[in-house]
């Protein structure tokens, strides 16, 4: 049974890793040039801090998932080891998983808000919309954001599974005590 959960875990982490890399690449390699009157204007992800942060965060999330995948290649992990040391490590991994899920989610939400402002502009603040001029650039960012939200959704599911695997070791009667085995 443990092997089955591990397989699901590996599959989910691989998918999250792929979507993170895809997001970082789609945003990072997005660029469009346009001639406005006599000057050449170029739109890149560096124009908006939120997109720069998104690239860094998604790259970090990809590295984290890669490291977690390496864990499964260590034989002791796939077999399961002594209970107490397992529990401490599992708490740390659960916290890291939760942090990773929330941070990628926050980075994606911030980038979505910035992209939304670029699409609609803000009349009251005299921020003009930009996506009517850099359409292809904006569509690529939109695709990247979909991948980004998929990766953070997958990471939320992964952290739920981590929580399930850890919390079911505890006694249902007494708080924070292990059940007898």
């Amino acid at each position: 049974m443990e092997v089955g959960i591990n397989k699901i875990n590996v599959f989910l982490r691989l998918s999250a890793l792929l979507f993170s890399v895809l997001t970082a690449c789609l945003v990072g390699l997005d660029a469009q040039s346009k001639r406005v009157f006599f000057s050449e204007k170029k739109a890149t992800f560096r124009d908006l801090d939120a997109l720069v942060i998104l690239v860094y965060v998604e790259s970090g999330a990809a590295c984290y998932n890669l490291l977690q995948l390496c864990k499964f290649s260590i034989p002791a992990w796939s077999r399961g080891n002594s209970k107490m040391s397992f529990v401490y490590v599992a708490w740390v991994f659960l916290l890291l998983d939760q942090l990773a899920a929330y941070i990628t989610f926050a980075a994606n939400s911030a980038a979505l808000e910035a992209a939304f402002l670029a699409v609609t502009g803000a009349n009251e603040l005299q921020w003009m919309k930009l996506c009517n001029r850099f359409t292809r650039f904006c569509i690529q960012i939109g695709g990247a954001l979909i991948c980004g939200f998929l990766s953070s959704l997958l990471m939320a599911v992964i952290s739920s599974i981590s929580a399930f695997n850890l919390f079911r070791l505890y006694s249902p009667k007494r708080f924070l005590l292990f059940k007898q085995t």
Copy 2:
């Protein structure tokens, strides 16, 4: 013991509720007028969609936490009822708690990004900064965002406790089966 956890839960939900209400009020009641040349300019939260969404989301979160608090006044809940019906309801509440935590977190992140743009502007996009003119307005939004992040942090903790209370009912050996009691 269950009563102890319930007390912590009530306390956390009350705090989250207070911080949500505080955020919604701070953002919703924030307004500053300034005379620019011959016209009067007024900054309100309606100038930025992200702030409008934040007010709605935090109000919704406050209502949700209020409803959850009402749950504890029903005697059957505080005593604990039959196991199977408890489990189904607990799964639904866990999902709702998780959704509430992620949605308030996303709304706060988006509002933070919008506020960040208002503070720094975006030179490349010719979006000018606004907080040098509407300083008091921006400081109040900053305070509101701190309260908002506190409320979403509290709701993340609440959903972790919900997860713990539910998942520890399950068997540590067999996947998704209950342990014998």
